[in-house]
Symmetry: C2
Subunit: 419 residues, 2 copies
């Protein structure tokens, strides 16, 4: 990408200029803007629903599935939820300006680290229009400016939503270009943006693995992402069997289509004959298809066979791969080979194994005796979630407001010179 | 890069396998290995000097400058310094396993963040052979495995040093492949490594801007780097003039060839007539060439003119660009436009301006009344320095051991399910 087109260059320049302003805004000003956005969304719900109608008509014509059309639809209810989300972000503590530590050097220099915004964040997403509002709110609260690029299927909805957000910025005395949306569905604009490392500090892609791989390949800007979540539960020999059944059921069935759902169950051979039939019964009642290794199928002869590919699979569906292992070492080896660094849990009553699992499994979230479904910014108490990272750099795991900041060194001196 | 050659793939695989081991090593084991390395380097100094001789002969034949040959030369003294550096790293606190925070959720889950190694780190450098030892020591101490790629001019020295480090790993029961060096001077191997995002977690290039830009362009792996350090000192109207002269002199002259030296001096118009002649006299005595804006030249008529390009320039030499500004806003605007996000200082007695500069200038290090030369991992008390980052993601500013780690979420539960 040697030549950047004028509209894209303008957008990036205005984002960078706005970021200098948003970096220094008071928490009060940012919160006022967020609350104004919430009010304006509710007031404009009819107009929003009308714009959304255009996308829904297009989606019907394109032959999108019923589930996808449902996710696309704006209603009084879903607009109310977005407004409530904005008020929640306004109520969160402001990470900007927080001095995370400060110390004194022998020469009297006071050295500290202060949280500052990253600058300009690009968000590329496919999913529901509410991401437009969520992502913009979190970027503003953390003092960043944002360039949004939603999916073409939600084009009119996203444009209308962004218009309302920008209006609220203006009325709060914040440059409206702090929140921008790419105003075309043309791919070239995104490809250009991904090369503009002097203007954009971070790219967050949210969507399917194909979208994310394309972004990583094209981007010269740092990308925070996760390709997939192949999450494991390991049921240890000493597990409380009822707890293990409940955790596995929750991890697989409570919401199978998301990245923190369990995809592979690892069971200690010592407990497998007792545990597997109980778990299989409960999972099968919920419609879960089991695919097992040879030792699993010796205990559950009715189920299908797990092939090598199954261990890598993110089903996002009511399917579960099951493997019997000899113990915690084999379980951790399996996770190291086939895992996606997302989320893993152990169910055990053994103190030593709990501590080994916590210390030795280096996925972004590691749990003892709890469902993998807790790997989520809200559930962990971050107050928000802009995404989940399985890239270890900068952020690893669910990302809240702090992950949209970095720290600079601040130094108070009194004429110190280096000798 | 579609096809990876077998030796490079083997190197990356072995690095990744070793990283699983180094991640779980006790601090004692790592420290013992570092101290063994120090002992072995001293014992093998003659052999090292003999290998270094080959590089020095090659350098003479290639026509390298005297200064470059000096940097390349290993002596009893420089080998002793490396050994001392290894002992210092052994004495630093181990960042791995540190729980940086822990909190309790309403449902009783205990959620914490624990520092873990990044995994495999690739270091690409041009400079002196001591980087081989420094970088390997910091990566090991932080539980990472490392692939080193030094400059071809130090090839034999780096190979010999790495051999000794690997021997110390073996004798300490650590896989020797935790520290590897690319055993060829062929560029293809590096180009292949930069595409292997499934094996390598971070690339740190250290060297000239050309090297770094090439690495960024080719890498599919996150890169932490700084292109250059265009560091500013702003002398405010209320500055203590003697302090300002001393700080500017120290920032420019104490070591002009490094990235935290001052390259542009900004002076408040109210103090310029008094300050500039004093500063110019002292700087000129040290051989500094001044290049000024029009207002500077009205006060210092003998000096050359600063062209637009000078404001972007990292001279790394006894040259200084000087601009008179109307006040702190114009100074901060100049820094925002021409700066490189590295290091900026203000000299002032005004409380409000000191606080504005600290809060509003978002370079990686911001100082009040101290020399820019303090922007350095050792000077700031990090205990080590693996590099300086002007990329805001992950690390911003001087990087110590903690910056070679990330954090995972650890969660202790008691059967919690998500509802």
């Amino acid at each position: 990408m040697s030549k950047i087109s004028e509209p894209v260059l303008k957008m990036a320049r205005e984002a960078k200029e706005s970021a200098r302003v948003t970096a220094s805004l008071s928490s009060e000003t940012k919160n006022l803007a967020l609350i104004t956005m919430a009010e304006r969304l509710s007031e404009e719900s009819e107009a929003l629903i009308a714009e959304n109608r255009k996308d829904l008509d297009g989606a019907g014509a394109k032959g999108l599935s019923g589930a996808m059309i449902d996710r696309l639809r704006l209603t009084e209810q879903s607009i109310g939820d977005m407004a409530a989300g904005l008020r929640e972000v306004a109520a969160l503590p402001d990470p900007v300006g927080m001095v995370t530590s400060m110390w004194k050097r022998p020469n009297g220099l006071q050295v500290g680290r202060m949280r500052i915004p990253l600058g300009v964040i690009g968000i590329i997403y496919e999913s529901r229009p509410n991401v437009t509002v969520d992502a913009a709110a979190l970027c503003l609260k953390s003092g960043n400016s944002v360039i949004l690029r939603g999916g073409s299927e939600a084009f009119h909805s996203n444009l209308a939503l962004t218009g309302i957000l920008q209006e609220a910025l203006r009325s709060s005395g914040i440059p409206e270009k702090a929140i921008q949306i790419v105003p075309t569905t043309d791919r070239t604009a995104v490809e250009e943006l991904l090369t503009m490392e002097d203007y954009i500090d971070l790219i967050i892609p949210r969507g399917g693995e194909d979208l994310i791989r394309t972004v990583v390949r094209l981007s010269r800007i740092p990308v925070i992402k996760h390709y997939k979540g192949v999450c494991h539960v390991f049921v240890d020999a000493s597990a409380d069997i009822d707890m293990a059944v409940d955790i596995c059921f929750n991890a697989k069935v409570q919401r199978p289509g998301v990245c923190n759902a369990m995809e592979t169950l690892l069971v200690h051979s010592g407990v497998a004959p007792e545990f597997l039939p109980m778990a299989a019964e409960k999972l099968s009642e919920a419609g879960v298809e089991l695919r097992g290794c040879e030792r699993t199928r010796a205990i559950l002869p009715g189920i299908g066979e797990a092939a090598e590919e199954d261990w890598y699979e993110e089903y996002l569906d009511l399917i579960l791969a099951v493997r019997v292992v000899d113990g915690i070492d084999q379980a951790m080896d399996h996770i190291a080979v086939y895992g996606s660094l997302h989320t893993e849990a152990i169910v055990t009553r053994d103190y030593h194994n709990a501590q080994r699992f916590i210390n030795e499994v280096n996925s972004s979230t590691v749990l003892v005796n709890a469902s993998t479904r807790f790997s989520d910014g809200f559930q962990l108490g971050l107050g928000a979630e802009i995404g989940i990272s399985t890239t270890k750099l900068h952020a690893f795991g669910p990302m809240g407001l702090e992950e949209l900041t970095t720290t600079k060194f601040i130094i108070y001196g009194d004429g110190q010179l280096r000798s």
